[in-house]
Symmetry: none
Subunit: 416 residues, 2 copies
């Protein structure tokens, strides 16, 4: 069995120590961390990353929206070629775990350190990125840094984004010393590979170690509003009601039924409900609800949207309500380069690891990079599917397996 | 057959003309009216009532929350005694009928005019009240005027109540000229009698003319909380979810099914829903919902509560959720003074009218007056049980019968 990296694999203890060091900068619970984008805790994580990059003699480039890219120029036989980039993000949600984002960044360092320790060089340079504000927990939009990196959002717009207190990305970048000078959009890399925890339960449930990510699910976020007749809960006979709360509830149960019927990868979620006046003894005047529909198949996603619209209209008519809908977010499914998916799968098998092709249910920086270069994602299992939660956990053996596959994929892409 | 009023009865044409005059101030459809509390239309109704009272030489008293009481002092042989009060309200819901409330007020005038026309006097004075904002369709709480009248709500709190546009009761009373000087709470009357349309189908279904109202529906307010697992809306397959929003929605639709199955006067309302974190793309960690169940029958109300609890537990178990419930309000049905119920029943029979004892499915000013004095309600049939609807209808013969019974009950209570 030949591994392109030329060895048995990365140092999982060193990988774990680095993840622990990042988490412990701003601990939440026993294992979690809170490093909201561009806070002091995020700065501390960035500082640590930059120190590790400098220890590895990487060339550290910080761009105008604070994306950090460390390029291992010294490890390339042809350092002028476009690099093979890997990476993810360091920011977390308020109640974050220690693996989401950080794992993909630290594993990139680990790949380079492993090659360097063996005295190996690649043809193209390898590089590791940490993109700014992937989570969007403090500043909108999420995946901000990678959006700017690929030219899908202007740096000016990103820098002007403000948090709930009115503090902007630009002000915070300047304050913490990460308002860099490298331009964005950047010249596209030769390829991009993001290693990430699954953040869902599928790999664990299927007892598989490596996910070869086929793409990112299409997302449809809609807000439905039902308007009826506010009335006293005691004096209004059931048959005379025009109850938007009932319509909301009936549509929410339909979303569950619809997902079950369409099957496959279809998911549907009612995450937000608002009613007015939202009082115990008043049939509400109106109710709004969000419906998050996702599917990897564009046609099925569109079918789900269509059936939802028809059902909502039927319920509204039966209850004598007015209904309106508004699209909040609409992304078609993103498919990663098939050759890149094949590469991840073949590489994992060469390591003797079980694999599964699966889509990502969540958004990732990789979907932005896919706009400008061949892109792959590698998933490892998340225990109980938990993420955005201090209890987020991935077994050390799985962390090692994922980083080994990253190492081999990067080596393969960069050439020898 | 002896009638305490000493005659054959009231003038149903005059009664009908007054109801028509009130309805036509602000018509809705052919027969309905919209006189939301303290609007210009409500003022017009109040003005008409005060003119009729003055035409009958009643002493018109307007209190600090706009309740109007006309006292027939001249008709009493002992005018210093506490009066026997009757009445109801003049305000309507937005799509009101012409009988709800107005009938009880106009019939009180009719009783006095009938006695006056015969030159009859009672020992105690008779009085007619129109209480402010009984419906609660514009201002909360409903039954506001009678609540303040009996001292169960302060005038200050009532005056500060605002409608959806932020306009207060106090501002509107001043604007329409009904911010009176008579104090509230008032000295309790000797007794109170409210004549009202049933607003339900029972009397018509039983082919009975006079309902001797035994009391008012019981109320059960519960808050149910479902706790599940907050998860990513994209990465968590449907089969692995523990979704409290789904449980909330399924229980809300069950409340509708339960009310339909129990039938009769059972009503069920989900008026308030809160979820956390209430974000588009997150399966909520928890959801709370209120369930307002009402029944005039204590056993059926208890059955509804029991079945709700069982269903909520079943849904929670199937979805692997924890569920808890908290009782927010629990009132058993209110019982009126048995001697007053007997008096209504005996009086109707003396007139040769069919009678039925039944509870009220809706709230009425009488339930507030019952706190401070012996209280009765008289129901007449509502065609098809419709109310809060322009199609609200009661046969003229039934209107006459109810007013005759009111006349006799008032005369009996006031003494000769």
């Amino acid at each position: 069995m030949r591994n392109p990296s030329g060895g048995s694999g990365i140092d999982v203890d060193r990988l774990g120590d680095r993840l622990a060091a990042l988490a412990e900068l701003a601990p939440v619970g026993e294992f979690g961390s809170c490093r909201l984008a561009l806070t002091d805790a995020d700065k501390a994580g960035r500082d640590l990353l930059c120190r590790w990059m400098e220890d590895l003699a990487l060339e550290v480039r910080i761009d105008v929206v604070g994306n950090i890219v460390g390029v291992w120029t010294a490890g390339a036989t042809e350092p002028g070629l476009d690099p093979v980039l890997c990476g993810s993000h360091l920011d977390t949600v308020a109640t974050g775990g220690r693996y989401d984002g950080a794992y993909g960044v630290v594993a990139g360092l680990e790949a380079i350190e492993t090659l360097a320790a063996r005295g190996l060089r690649t043809r193209r340079p390898l590089a590791v990125a940490a993109f700014t504000n992937e989570e969007g927990a403090r500043f909108t939009p999420d995946m901000m840094g990678s959006l700017v990196h690929v030219g899908a959002l202007t740096a000016e717009a990103a820098l002007a984004a403000a948090d709930e207190d009115g503090v902007t990305v630009g002000e915070e970048l300047a304050r913490i010393g990460y308002l860099g000078v490298w331009p964005a959009p950047a010249r596209p890399p030769f390829a991009f590979v993001e290693l990430h925890i699954e953040q869902g339960p599928v790999l664990e449930h299927e007892d598989v170690v490596i996910g070869a990510v086929t793409g990112v699910q299409g997302i449809s976020w809609q807000e439905l509003t039902f308007v009826g007749q506010s009335n006293h809960a005691g004096t209004t006979p059931m048959g005379l009601r025009r109850d938007p709360a009932y319509a909301m509830a009936r549509v929410a149960t339909f979303v569950r039924e619809l997902a079950a019927e369409l099957g496959g990868r279809q998911v549907g979620t009612v995450g937000r409900v608002l009613m007015h006046p939202n009082l115990v003894n008043v049939v509400p005047a109106w109710a709004t609800m969000t419906v998050d529909l996702r599917n990897t198949d564009a046609d099925t996603l569109a079918e789900a949207e269509g059936r939802l619209a028809v059902f909502a209209a039927e319920v509204a008519e039966a209850e004598h309500l007015e209904v309106s809908s508004q699209s909040l977010v609409r992304f078609d499914p993103v498919a990663f380069d098939p050759a890149m998916v094949d590469l991840v799968e073949a590489t994992a098998r060469r390591r003797g690891l079980s694999t599964l092709r699966l889509p990502s249910g969540a958004g990732h920086d990789a979907q932005m990079l896919a706009r400008v270069c061949p892109t792959a994602m590698i998933f490892v299992p998340s225990h109980r599917g938990l993420s955005h939660n201090p209890a987020e956990h991935t077994e050390p053996a799985h962390l090692a397996a994922g980083a080994d596959v990253l190492l081999d994929v990067l080596t393969d892409l960069a050439g020898r």
